[in-house]
Symmetry: C2
Subunit: 145 residues, 2 copies
């Protein structure tokens, strides 16, 4: 296995989640009210079109985007970017990977939450992660699109 020392230690999202974040950020930056073609977003963001379309459909079902079918259709943000939290964008894709947040037994709720210091500081990492997703909105990442 290839070791990438110094690179370890970053929190990752799945490809689906990353596509969702980039797409919503791009819509916030370039959407002018009109619906934007999924195909065009895929081209601009260099994401496989048929894959992105699934991601966009999921976001539409979740209420983050509004899908417009037919000619002149496409996708637009369901609300102003300032009113869409990142947690809304992330949740539909990270749901299956969600865990208890317990370091050693992520498959089940952990006993003695506050017992050891390692457990508490690990909880702090998760709390920082959760807080970021709650307080950051699509408007905040618009410029990075």
């Amino acid at each position: 296995m290839v070791l990438l020392r110094g690179m370890v230690g970053s929190v990752n999202f799945s490809a689906s989640t990353t596509h969702a974040l980039r797409a919503t950020a791009w819509l916030a930056a370039h959407g002018d009210g009109d619906a934007v073609l999924g195909r065009e977003m895929a081209r601009k963001l260099k994401i496989p079109p048929d894959y992105l379309s699934k991601v966009l459909a999921t976001l539409a079902r979740s209420g983050v985007l509004t899908a417009v079918r037919g000619a002149k259709g496409g996708y637009r943000l369901a609300r102003a970017p300032e009113r869409i939290k990142l947690v809304e964008v992330v949740t539909p894709f990270e749901g299956t990977r969600a865990r208890s947040g317990c370091l050693l037994r992520p498959d089940r709720p952990c006993r003695d939450s506050g017992a050891c210091s390692a457990h508490r500081s690990w909880g702090g990492v998760n709390e920082a992660y959760r807080a970021f997703l709650e307080k950051t909105t699509v408007a905040d990442i618009r410029d990075q699109a």
Copy 2:
């Protein structure tokens, strides 16, 4: 897709990494200097034996464990648990998943690191994660085994 609202927002490790953490914690708690059979650890920790043996072999190659072959063989911690950082246990398994830490473009180094506030606070999440792995040792998670 099933949504698990309220569960999203925890940082996860892969199964291999979790096995490695649990195995080293268990060795710190139960190893009394003698080598412990991989098979016994698998039984106690309820981890598939043949899978755990690969994980243990990787940890031995990385210098976290010492492997003892032949009869009366097994594995032991290479050093005192206080002197083994979690980052050493995690690195051999999370290496392939390592990314740039950039929220929207994890596949490449990100431009304008300090430009937007979202970028900075996301960097803070990663910093908390990295700091945890650096400051926590196997001794700190021993009790959770």
